[in-house]
Amino acid sequence: MAKIKGTVTVDVEKCKGCGVCVVACPTDVLALSKEVNGKGYPFAMQANPDACTGCANCAVVCPDSCLTVYRQRDPNA
């Protein structure tokens, strides 16, 4: 198992579903949702959360600053 893992939280109502984060993710964690937010946009979500390394690439390219990235060392390692 990975010693370091990451996760991404999404400000769903701010997300406009542009998908720039999806292609920026090197480990294919993110996808756009099937459902839509209050503005009618699909939004970014972790489709494959276990693969997240917390590199923050997604958040760096997010034009709407709606992604927050966390990273943690495995407490069991």
Binding site: G6, V60, V61, P63, L67
Partner: protein, 259 residues
């Protein structure tokens, strides 16, 4: 054994800077402006310049830039941002003054003001967002529109015989003695955005050190104007814009120009 990353302040590696307001940006999904705004806000925050910075917003899509960063702002008439910034900096030299302008604002209607502020070597930063189109007015041709590119005012594609050629104002201003730093960046990928932020930081440091004018061009996509999806627009930009508007530093003057 698998573990869950805890959502705690200690584990946070990247998030929205507090210098950005909570307003939802009016920009289209995937617009480069949002990313560039964020990088500018991060640089101001990291340099501790919030109380010293005056932003000058243009006319164009980014006219409302003042809604998104917690600093004092002056909204300038179309094309005149560099004249406005000149006075703000001359009268309050301890301030960090930057303009944020699109390609219509800076390289069409505001060519004179921009070039002369560059030539006077005003100690300001000019952030020039070039997406080769007029976004706010609905996708008309810009001076920077590529040959062959279709817009509302070049529906058959830009033809040199009718519309003239796209021009590179970054290269033009790099020839002026008052300009200390000219660079062309983009923000469509994580690596590009990180480089662009470094360039902005360099520019802001130059201005505070009184080295002259720093000019940071951001080659950007306008997916609505280009009638493409955000991801496709970024790809089109890489394939079509970057060969003409080549990324990288154009001028780096290490010492201020002799008086």
């Amino acid at each position: 054994m698998s573990f869950q990353v805890e959502i705690t302040p200690e584990n946070k590696v990247y998030g929205k800077t507090p210098l950005l307001t909570d307003n939802v940006m009016h920009y289209c999904p995937g617009c480069s402006h949002g990313t560039i705004h964020k990088l500018v806000a991060e640089v101001i925050e990291e340099m501790g310049l919030q109380d010293k910075t005056i932003g000058v917003s243009p006319v164009g899509c980014s006219v409302f830039a003042y809604n998104y960063i917690h600093i004092d702002w002056i909204q300038a008439a179309h094309g005149r941002a560099c004249a406005v910034a000149t006075a703000a900096k001359r009268l309050t030299p301890e301030k960090m003054v930057f303009t944020y302008q699109g390609d219509g604002d800076l390289s069409a209607i505001g060519t004179a003001e921009s070039i002369h502020a560059c030539n006077r070597g005003e100690n300001i930063v000019v952030i020039y967002v070039n997406n080769a189109i007029y976004g706010m007015t609905g996708g008309q041709m810009a001076p920077t529109t590529l040959l062959g590119m279709k817009t509302a005012t070049s529906p058959a594609g830009r033809e040199a015989a009718i519309h003239g050629y796209p021009y590179k104002i970054a290269e033009i201003v790099s020839m002026l003695d008052g300009v200390c730093y000219v660079t062309r960046q983009s923000v469509q990928s994580p690596a590009a955005a990180r480089k662009a932020k470094k360039a902005l930081r360099q520019a802001f440091e130059n201005a505070m050190a009184g080295k002259g004018l720093s000019f940071v061009e951001m080659v950007s996509s306008c997916n609505s104007g280009w009638k493409q999806s955000p991801v496709d627009a970024n790809k089109w930009m890489e394939e079509n814009m970057f060969p003409f508007y080549k990324l990288g530093d154009i001028k780096v003057a290490t010492e201020p120009k002799e008086a």
